[in-house]
């Protein structure tokens, strides 16, 4: 009982990217970095380097003071960014700079609702569209709150990408899929980001179940850290998402003053290259 999503986004970079991956018969790599960690210039350099290193899609974290769904690595990364003065407006600005140079790599903003609500939904959507953002993942906006941002975002031509989890049973899945487009993000564990890993077999079974409800590509994240694990996930999913491992690599590349060290960008791209190699093996 496959059902196509009801939401269509015109000239979608995300749809194009997943179509391309499908044609090439390979799994996608989605990389996550936190905007402004440790500073916006480094974020910009990372964004430029990631596609070439093998990232197919990029998630940019919008830092929030109270990241309830995140584990220690991304919490710390958000704190670093906030301490160094990141704001939602600056996050959008760094995406805009990246988009001016790269018209193909999809960029998805991920975060929590309050900074967006505080800026104002209309203003945020206008700025995000102008900046070349392709989709949004807002952790604390479940389908029950779709009127807040999901429906206006779709109206503005952005993909609304929802998280499905092991607690999303067959009864709830249609509700989660409704208004979701681009891809579905399957959270492979019960828990927060970067803490533990799910076995590929379990994930495979979950994805089979999801695919019975939807034709959307499924990306799997939370707890994928190594090229081997990414490869195993890539066998059963359309894409693997890596966040905490990359963010930890950024943390390791900081100097004693918390500033970006000379080798930071290279060290992150090396990790991404290894993940890519693992995934393509």
């Amino acid at each position: 009982m496959s059902t196509a999503t009801s939401v269509q986004i015109a000239e979608s970079r995300i749809d194009a990217r997943f179509a391309e991956l499908k044609d090439q018969g390979r799994a996608g790599l989605v990389t996550f970095i936190t905007a402004g960690d440790p500073d916006t210039e480094t974020t910009y350099q990372l964004l430029r380097a990631l596609p070439e290193a093998g990232a197919d899609l990029i998630e940019v974290g919008m830092p929030f003071s109270d990241p309830m769904a995140d584990g220690p690595a991304i919490q710390a990364s958000s704190q670093r960014a906030l301490k160094n003065g990141i704001s939602l407006a600056k996050t959008l600005e760094v995406v805009r700079r990246f988009r001016a140079e790269d018209s193909k790599t999809p960029v998805i903003l991920m975060g929590y609702y309050n900074p967006i609500y505080h800026m104002g939904v209309d203003k945020f959507l206008t700025l995000a569209s102008e900046a070349g953002v392709d989709g949004l993942i807002i952790v604390d906006l479940p389908p029950e709150e779709d009127r807040e941002l999901c429906l206006p975002a779709i109206q503005a031509g952005l993909h609304w990408i929802r998280l499905a989890t092991p607690t999303t049973d067959d009864k709830r899945l249609p509700k989660v899929l409704e208004n979701t487009s681009g891809f579905l993000y399957y959270v492979s564990i019960l828990g927060i980001t970067g803490t533990r890993a799910a076995a590929a077999e379990e994930v495979g079974a979950a994805i089979e179940r999801i695919k019975r409800h939807s034709k959307l590509p499924v990306a799997v994240g939370f707890g994928i850290r190594t090229p081997e694990h990414a490869a195993a996930i890539g066998k059963v999913a359309d894409a693997a998402v890596v966040g905490s491992a990359i963010v930890e690599r950024i943390a390791e590349g900081l100097d004693e003053n918390g500033k970006a060290g000379a080798g930071l960008v290279d060290s992150v791209t090396e990790l991404v290259r290894n993940l890519r190699t693992g995934l393509d093996r």
Binding site: S87, Y117, H118
Partner: protein, 404 residues
Amino acid sequence: MTEPLNTYRSGPDEFGHFGIFGGRFVAETLMPLVLEVERAYDEAGADPDFKRELEYYAQHYVGRPSPLYHAERLSEYLGGARIYFKRDELNHTGAHKINNTLGQILLARRMGKTRIIAETGAGQHGVATATVCARFNLPCVVYMGATDMKRQAPNVFRMKLLGAEVIPVESGTGTLKDAMNEALRDWVANVDSTFYIIGTAAGPHPYPAMVRDFQSVIGRETREQILQAEGRLPDTLVACIGGGSNAIGLFHPFLDEPDVKMIGVEAAGHGLDSGEHAASLNGGEPGVLHGNRTYLLQDDDGQIIDAYSISAGLDYPGIGPEHSWLHESGRVDYAAVTDEEALEAFKLCTATEGIIPALEPSHALAQVMKVAPELPRDHLLVVNLCGRGDKDIFAVAEKLGVEL
């Protein structure tokens, strides 16, 4: 959404909204569980056995009803209104918090949950949770900010004696909001086994309504007791506000009595202009945190600002969503009282009535000190004495420069 003005007691709607406030802003992992809690709570509410069980323990374990006491000497001293104390500080564990933890643990048992988590600021909710967990033999994990653990060492020891595991939260600024974040992270990872006992009338629907309902016993008793003592309803109700559970518990049964005036008292810390306070309504803006839309202390970028108050129990940058709605609808007035004013009230209450109040209701008492002298002698004023001050004597001594 238009709210019928002939009742203030119909909220929340089926989506958990009080006007624009409330809601269910949680991660997808938690959503099925939040819906399950809502279902289970609705069923429990319709089950006379649940009500009987709750009333049994409220009477024999908590010690309800708590007295409504005419504070004669304080009334005399202030020279105006006739002041009554609703004495929820006499409850088992010394505060109103146990009204709620008792209700929630009975619900958790009905749902077959085998593990309890909670967050705590001052430690009162943590102690009340650890207490009912000991009584009903359920493992208990309490998240507490590392900063708060230092400020409230006696309560940490109490919780441990009661068998709870107290986990220090270092993230953020190590206070109540961070403890709540950490409890939510635990809940996400343990949805199958675990029930989260939220301590105040906030969080995702149905928590604000559920906590309010469990605390409304305060207002229902007050209504009966004042009718018995005075033959009429009170003129003014006063209660302190952190998240606002004791206040909503006192206010709710009176909301549709147009002649009953209500004042919620927030913590102004070092003053509303100092930037160091916990007054979400008087010094914050609407936002979304911890599962609900409500007034929050936040900066220009929508980042949450830490609250400050001498009272750890009021030290939260948000407030229950129903209060935000009652504030905007104008039904309840929300004042703010500084640390200094609360300390004065703490001393006055102790000296005139022989009752050492907690620093939280000392804020309510400080507001009473401001308004009572201007009111006529027959004006009936009820203040919720929601906690006793034994836990605070060290903080007060330090503030007064006394070495113990």
